[in-house]
Structure formats: C-alpha cells, structure tokens
C-alpha cells in the first residue's frame, strides 16, 4: 500500500500522471460517451424522485378528485396548476402517479436483474466449469426457454402463477435467465484452461472457490453490460404485461398498467396516454444509453485507442 502511494506520488510530481485506478479508468472511458453520461444523469434523478416520491409528489397517487376528471395539463386550455400533467378518468393526478410509478419500474428492474443474474451466473459457472452432463442438461433447458418469444413465455408463466406484480417479476426473471447462463458459460469456458486457473487448482483450491473467486471476476465485464441491458428489457416487459392486464393490477400506478387504463380515452384525452409512455420510453432510453457506455468502457475489444 505504502509502495503504491510512493510510486504514484513520484510519478505524479514530474508529469502529473498518477497511475489510474480501475474506477478512474472506467470513468475516463465512460465519460467519453456523452450519451451515457446523460443517461446516467437522468437515471440518478429518477432514483431520487422514486425515493422521495412521498415528499415531492403533489398528490396522493391513488386519491380520486371527483370534481376533476380528465383535467388537461397546465399549459393546455382548461388546465390547472393543481395538476401539472392533468388528471386521469377518475380524477387522479398523473404527475404524482408517474412519480410513484418510477418506484415500481426501478424495483422491477432491480429485482429481475439481481434474481436472473445470481441464478443465471451460478448455473452458467457450474455448467461451464464442470462440463459433461451438467452442462448438457443446463444448456438444453436454456435452449427450450429461448425457443419461445420472451413476452409469450412471460404471459404463460403469469397465467400459471396468476396476474400480479410479484408474479410478473418472477416470470420476467425466468425469461431472462438463459442470457446470463449462456454468457457466463461462454466466458468460463474460455477462462477455465488458462494458466492462472490451473495454478489455483494446483495450489489446492476447491471447485467452489475456483469458480467463484478465481474465474468469476474475470468474466464480469460482459455480464455487467448484459445486466444493464436486461434492466431496461425488464422494465419494458413489465410494462407490456401491465398493459395486457397481466402485470401490476389497478390502482397501482405502474406505468404499463396506467396505459392500459387510459386506452379507451386515447381520442378524448391524449395526456392520459402520452405521459406514462414518455416515462417508460425515456427511462428505458436512459438505461440503454448507460448500457452502451458501459459496453464501451468495459469491453477492451471495442475500446477506442
């Protein structure tokens, strides 16, 4: 530790170039991509809004103002400063519902990604490292899952489990599993015969340790990129399920569910339909921008020299 500091100060003095730590290096590459930084910025704002929704939302998301049905947004004739983005068909404030809805979308993304990633990485690690019948069985099962259109499979799982937010989350996590398994397995197979793995094995490391401590960290870059991309897919799929009436149920202010409720008003009250969709689009776009930035920063093959 002291040595490193000494060396870096020594280097820093003449040409002001300290050896960069992994985080600094990552940020250097990541921040080169302006879109990625913008995406990250929006994402941070969204997280803050979701966390503080109780305090900053102007109204209760499920309170129905009976005298204020379908009030247009404030900048349209007939709009009111009480309801900045207008109200829906039963008089609920759309802005407040969107703010609380951010919670559901982010929550869905987090749970789906962590669930699918943990299980998928575990299966992929062991399938890739052990090979043989474990690998064959695991990969055939993943092939089966991959031969269905993801949304259809999610719909069927929800049909089995019953509609609702929790079940939608489980269904979406299951359909994302194969991507993590395949990705992890492929990286493990390319790593497992490297010298450092052999030397760790010779040194007496058990399978569990080899797989998790030795190999896994070297496979993380593509997995992290996949996690970012599947975060946005999870939000989209959950919204689609909500829209089809199979995800979060009314009156939960989930964005897709809000769209489903608003469908019949499309030609009468455009704002009821427009804003939840804009929220989904911008959120997914921000995460995808971040994902592209992550890929550029983490994948050495694509790094621009």
């Amino acid at each position: 530790m002291t040595d490193t500091t000494a060396v870096s100060t020594a280097n820093a003095a003449p040409n002001n170039q300290a050896p960069v730590g992994p985080w600094r290096e990552f940020w250097a590459y990541f921040s080169e991509n302006k879109g990625a930084v913008a995406g990250l910025g929006f994402f941070v704002v969204l997280v803050v809004v979701a966390l503080l929704a109780d305090f900053i939302a102007p109204h209760d998301p499920i309170e129905q103002y009976r005298e204020h049905f379908l009030v247009p947004p404030v900048w349209v004739d007939g709009g009111s400063w009480d309801f900045l983005l207008g109200t829906d068909a039963v008089g609920r404030d759309i802005l407040s519902r969107l703010m609380f809805g951010a919670r559901y979308s982010l929550f869905i993304g987090c749970i789906v990604v962590s669930g699918a990633a943990v299980v998928g990485i575990a299966i992929g690690l062991f399938a890739g490292y052990l090979g043989g019948w474990v690998d064959t069985v695991a990969m055939r099962v993943m092939d089966i899952l991959l031969s269905y259109p993801p949304l259809l499979l999610a719909l069927v799982f929800v049909a089995i489990l019953g509609p609702g937010l929790e079940n939608a989350i489980v269904a979406i996590a299951v359909i994302q599993l194969p991507h993590y398994v395949r990705l992890t397995r492929a990286s493990v197979m390319s790593e497992r015969n490297r010298d450092y793995v052999t030397s760790a094995r010779v040194a007496g490391a058990g399978t569990l340790r080899l797989v998790t401590v030795t190999i896994l960290p070297n496979c993380m870059a593509p997995i992290i990129v996949q996690a970012a991309l599947s975060f946005s897919t999870a939000i989209l799929d959950a919204a689609a399920l909500g829209f089809l009436g199979m995800g979060a149920q009314p009156p939960l202010p989930e964005w897709g569910t809000m769209l489903a409720e608003a469908r019949e008003f499309i030609l009468r009250a455009w704002w009821v339909v427009t804003f939840p969709g804009v929220a989904i689009l911008v959120t997914v776009l921000a995460i995808n921008l971040m994902g592209d930035g992550l890929r550029d920063a983490l994948d050495p093959k694509l790094k621009r020299s």
């Binding site: 031969s147 259109p149 259809l152 089995i160 946005s232 689609a240 499309i266 989904i280 689009l281 921008l289």
Partner: protein, 334 residues
Amino acid sequence: MIKLLFRRVGLMIPTFIGATLLSFLFIRMLPGDPVLLMAGERGMTDERYQRLLHEFGFDRPYWQQYLEYLWGVLQGDLGESFRTKVPVLQEFLTLFPATVELSLCAMLLATVIGIPAGVIAAIRRGRALDHGTMGTALVGYSMPIFWWALMLIIVVSGQWGLTPVSGRISLLYFFEPVTGFMLIDSLLSGQEGAFGSAVQHLILPTIVLGTIPLAVVARQTRSAMLEVLGEDYVRTARAKGLSPFRVVGIHALRNALIPVTTTIGLQIGVLFGGAILTETIFAWPGIGKWMIESVSARDYSVVQGGLLLIAVIVMVVNLMVDLMYGLINPKIRY
C-alpha cells in the same frame, strides 16, 4: 452441409421434446382442477366429470398421459378449443397467415430502411448524420411499442384521419380467403379499392411491429460495416481507384451483410412477442391476438397448442438461419 443439417436437426430433437414437455406440464401446473380447466365449465355433474376425466386421460399415470400427448402431437392432434370446438391446429392455420403477412411487412420495412441507414451511419462515422441516425435507432430500440401504437393512432388516425385503427380490411369488402394473405386475396377478388383498403390497414401495424427490428438492423449494419471498412481488401479496392459507391456497395456491404442476415433471422422471436401487443391493439386477427385472448379466456388447450406451435416455428426459423449462415458465409465450410 448435409452433415451439418443432420447435426442441427439432431440438436433440435431434445429441444422439441422439452417444448412438448413444457406444453404438457403447463395444463398440470395451473392452479385448479385440470378437468374443469380443460372443459371450461363449472358445476358439472359427477358422472360427466368422471367421463371427462377419463376422456382427457387425467386418471392415467403421468408418463402414459405424456406419451399419449406426444403421440397425438406427432399426428397433428393438439386438442380443440373449448370456446369454438375447432381443432387447435386448424384455428392456428387459419390465423397464421395474418401474422406472417404482418411480420413480413415489418421485416421488409426494417430491412429496407435499416440497412441503408446503418451503411450511411458507418460511412459518416462520428459525424452529425451518424449520431442522428444512431440516436434515432436507440430511441426505436427503447420504444414501448404498445405506447407507440397508441401515439400513432392518436396522430395518424385521430388527427389526420389517414388510416383505419383496426382490422385487416374495410367491412365494405368481403371475399373468401384464398391464400390467407390479405394483400394477395384482395387483388384476386378483383373488387375495386379492396387492395388499397388492405394496404391502409397494414400501414400502422407494420410501423409498430417493425420499429424494434428496424433499430436492431440499423445498429447491427453500422457495426458490421465499420468492421469491414477497416479491412485490407477494402483499402485495396479503394487503392485500385474503384468508385466509393462500388467499394461500399459491393465489396464492403456484401461481407457486412453476413452477420446482419443472421440478426434479421433471429428477430423472429421478437416479432412474435411484438405481434402479441401489435395485434391486440389493432384488432389484427393473428396468432398473437389469439394467444392473449386464449390466456384471458382460460382456453388452455389453445394456449398449450399455440405455445408448442410457436416454439416449433421459432426453432425451424433458427435452424434455417443457421444453415443460411453457412451458405452465405464463405469462411464457414463444413
């Protein structure tokens, strides 16, 4: 090539068996009594219950039930819908052309716009045009298409009054389906205006379903092009004094299209998923709408059969994509 074909088909067998197993288990995993679920009725007499129990085979051991199910599937027997009492396979075949027509149009849109857009972005790498195209592509890629459909309906149908909002053709026209493809059938019918009406009905669903594949194709084409443009043979072609159009359009594009073709083929799963949403919104009488309606109506024999049929189609298309990849990529010789 023949060897590859056999190996790939061989790999499909376990996947197919797995898919039949999943379809078979689906009915049995549903909460509730399978006999009541399959029959779709409540409050039946005990006698009828026993008869149906026997008819559906739920009184036999699981392995026997499964083998019987598999045997039936191999003969094309997927049970019948309890809503319409029509065999599932027959319903599927009636509705399938509508989905194929829509998907082909969407794929056509994605290819015809996506490939040139990707090529132009690659040539103008780092310039405004590149950023603009790729930014648009990323927006398309992030699009919740069910919302996109509603927006298009509001603007194009609602405000401009340009397109109808549902169905495949105006109710003014009626003719017996010949091919199942409305564009062809309307021409065959010889009725004036029928074809135009079919085209009008197709426009919005095609845009909606084609948006995500379009974005994927454009992004993929750009990155494939960038890779190819850095190759030595492209530099050679330039050095020989060939026109930029020839270098890009012939030398580079042909090689760049190899991965792009695969991408296009692999969009089939995305298309089916998108078809569920698109067909629901535009009341398009295809497989996607049929599946979601069957799920909502608890017509489980349809869900079971449709699930298997769709999986088989995806598998076959993926197989064809793999084989085609071998054919068009001279680097791969089996």
